[in-house]
Structure formats: C-alpha cells, structure tokens
Symmetry: C2
Subunit: 213 residues, 2 copies
DNA sequence: AAAGTAAAAGAACGACCGGTCGGTCATATA
DNA sequence: TATATGACCGACCGGTCGTTCTTTTACTTT
C-alpha cells in the first residue's frame, strides 16, 4: 500500500525522462524532429516546458536521444523478433513483414520515425544528420549481412548482390508509409509485401522456403 | 535600348510571381513546405516580405501554387522527354532514368520536391495534403498506364500486375534521394538503376529491348 | 491629363519559438 | 540531523513567425 506515494525523486525523474522521450519519438514521427516544439512536447508529456531542461541541455540533445530511443524501438520490434526465427531467406521475409506490421499496427502515429527523420535531415549537416545516417547505415548493413548469410546457407542464388538486394528490400518497405497514408492502405501493404516476396522467391534455391503468396 | 526601363507593372508582377514560385519549390525541396518561411523566401527571391502578399492571400495559397509549379517541372523534365521516345518497356526505363538524372543533376537543391512534401503532409489533412496526394496519384497512374501499354504491346509478360510494377518502380526511384544524400551517391544511383532494369528485363518478351546493364 | 489600379515597400501586430532564471521542495547523502 | 542535489515550476527574454495596414510608386485606362 501507499505505493504511489513512494516517489523517489530520482526514479520519478527517470520515468519523466522516458515519458518525454517516448512522446518525442511519437510526435517526431508525425511532425519531424524540427517540427517538434518543446512547448507542445512538454504539455503532451505532462511536464512544464522548463522541467524539460532538467533532462536535456537543448533541443538538439533531445533529438539525439530520440534517435537512440527510436533505434531501440526498431530493434525491439523488427530485428529482435526476427532473430528468434530461422536465418536466411525466411529471416529476410520476416524482417520485411515485421516492418509492415509495425506500420499497420500504428506503433508510431506518423508511421516511421526514421522515414521522416532521413528526409528532414538529408540536407542539414550536423550531429543529428550524422546520427540518422548511422542508424540508416546500421539497418541497411544488417539487411545486407542477412542476405549474405542466406547466400552462404545456399538458400539464395550464389550470384546475389547483397548490397543491391538490401537496398531494394528497404526501398520497397519504406514507400509503404506514404503510399498507405496518402493513397490507399490496403494496396500499399499488398504491393509492399508482394514486391519483396516475389523478389526473394526468384532467388530461392528451394522454392518451398517461402510461401507463393 | 532602355530595355530594362520598359518595365510594365503587370509583366513585372508576373516575373516576380514566377521568381518567387521557382524559389519556393527549390527551398521547399530542402526545408519542406512548412519549413519554408516567407521572410527567407522573399529575401531569396529579391522582394520584400510584404510584397509577397500582392501575389498570394496567405502561405497556404503559395504552397498550393508551388505544388502545381513542381508538377509542371516534373512533367517537363521527366514525363515529356520520355514521350519523345518509343512507348512500352523502353519508355518505362526512360522515365526511371530521367528521374535519376533529375536527382543527379541537382535540378532541385533538395533532390525531390514531392518526396519531401509527401512525407511532410501524409499526416496533416487539408487542401495541401489533398493536392500532394493528387500529384502522387497522377504520377503513379501514369506509370501504371505506361506498364499497361507495354503489356498491350506484347513487350512485357501478359501476367504483369501494372499497379504492382508501378509501385515498385516508384519506390525504387524514390529511395535514391535519401540514400544518395545520407549514405553514398554512387551506390544509390547504381542500386536504383539496376533494380528497375533487372525487374523489367525479367518481364521482357524480347530481351534485346533493354540493355543488360 | 486625370483617374484608376496593380506592385511593391515599411512598419508594426500578436502568437509562438527555443531558452534562461530564480525559486520550491522532496529526497539522497554525510 | 544538516546539507547538497536533482526534478520541476512560473515568469520572462530576445527573436522569428505569418499576417495586416498604410503609403509610395509607376503603369494602365479613360
């Protein structure tokens, strides 16, 4: 009992910090990291604007931490689950489908944090841009290594260009975000899924590894 | 002589209007249509901030006109040139390569106006969002009809899903923008071109229609 | 030549931006 | 128990935003 009263200032601070960060990632997935304003963020997170500065020196520091937080979310929701299944071609498809599910479930109200962030910062040099580029490079690198693994396992055609295939899987998944929101959600998910499934099936040495549709 | 003096108020206004619009599309390709500020826009276009309001009621009207201006630019640079060549599979590849050239030449400093605009407005209902959605739909519709034409000409496999292929060509081209700016330009253009070329070649009834690489 | 009109500039507005400051209060530390 | 610390607040700063109003200027129309 009296559980809610035991409120240790430090633990409470940590909870505030995470609430703000989580809210920041959500809001940034809609408005972007620049469109995010400290006033609205603080209000949405239930703290005062000045309370915010107990946790971050300035807006840029928050942006950097938000990128790290979003990376963790991506690993938790997309990468880690796929590591529970078999490697190779099936893992590639699992990654892609986890991504589509991530979008479809509306985990982030704007669809994809990094999609917005990379468009926003690809022309604005600085630490934030560098952090986004690193996250993007990490993700594409992981995809590429997963392709290489599939080739090494003999599941995909030996002539497969891993970097090329990683680029395509990423591009075909990314476009689902705006296509589903601007035009039609059902066809966006269908096109996004079918594109990668057929691309992978064409490279498969054992056609039973992935479903026909 | 006295050419610069003959300045007809009306003609001068039209020139101002177009200078502002052109500048707005360039700046919006970097900062987005919301990130665009009237002060910097006016300065870059060589007029005063208030002079802007002689041409547009408010910022939203400018955004709508900028979308129309960017659409015309896209038609002039991508669609119209491709109509000069043969229809069918070669036209699809020509469209894709014109797009990549558009990016590589730096026609717009931010790479692609609509790429930025669609990410920015896919979650913000209103007239601007609707205009961006229409432009996006027009482009994808044109791609789809070009695919259908290629199928009707017997150049592409009869079982080709036109909407699906249009989605893929667009997605694979779009991703070049941020990939080239955030990571590596050379590989981005190579991946973007190779992806569509191979995708089309796999559907070709006459393999000599498109180059091997 | 007079009257009318369109293109601009200049100054100023209220709202909101990121950020600072002084202060309060519960808690961790000694 | 004394003290330092971290979380947090309300008030406020200079600056920029989109927008409005007034005025000047130069062309167009009558």
């Amino acid at each position: 009992m009296a559980e809610t009263k035991a409120d240790g200032r430090r633990a409470r601070g940590e909870r505030s910090r995470e609430a703000i960060l989580s809210q920041a990632v959500s809001m940034a997935s809609v408005e972007g990291l620049s469109g995010l304003t400290l006033g609205r963020l603080a209000e949405a997170a239930g703290v005062s604007k000045s309370g915010f500065f107990a946790h971050w020196r300035d807006k840029e520091q928050l942006q950097l931490d938000a990128i790290a937080w979003a990376s963790r979310l991506w690993v938790d929701r997309i990468i880690r689950p796929s590591l529970a299944g078999p490697p190779g071609a099936r893992r590639l498809m699992a990654l892609h489908e986890a991504r589509l599910r991530f979008y479809a479930e509306g985990v982030l109200p704007g669809g994809c944090f990094f999609y917005v962030a990379q468009v926003e910062f690809d022309d604005k040099p600085g630490p934030v841009r560098d952090a986004v580029a690193t996250a993007m490079s990490d993700w594409l690198g992981f995809l590429r290594r997963t392709v290489e693994e599939a080739v090494a396992l003999g599941e995909l055609d030996a002539g497969t260009d891993a970097g090329q295939l990683a680029y395509e899987i990423n591009a075909l998944g990314e476009a689902v975000v705006s296509h589903s929101r601007m035009l039609d959600a059902e066809s966006a998910y269908r096109f996004g899924r079918t594109a990668v499934l057929h691309r992978l099936r064409a490279l498969l040495t054992d056609p039973t590894l992935l479903p026909e549709a």
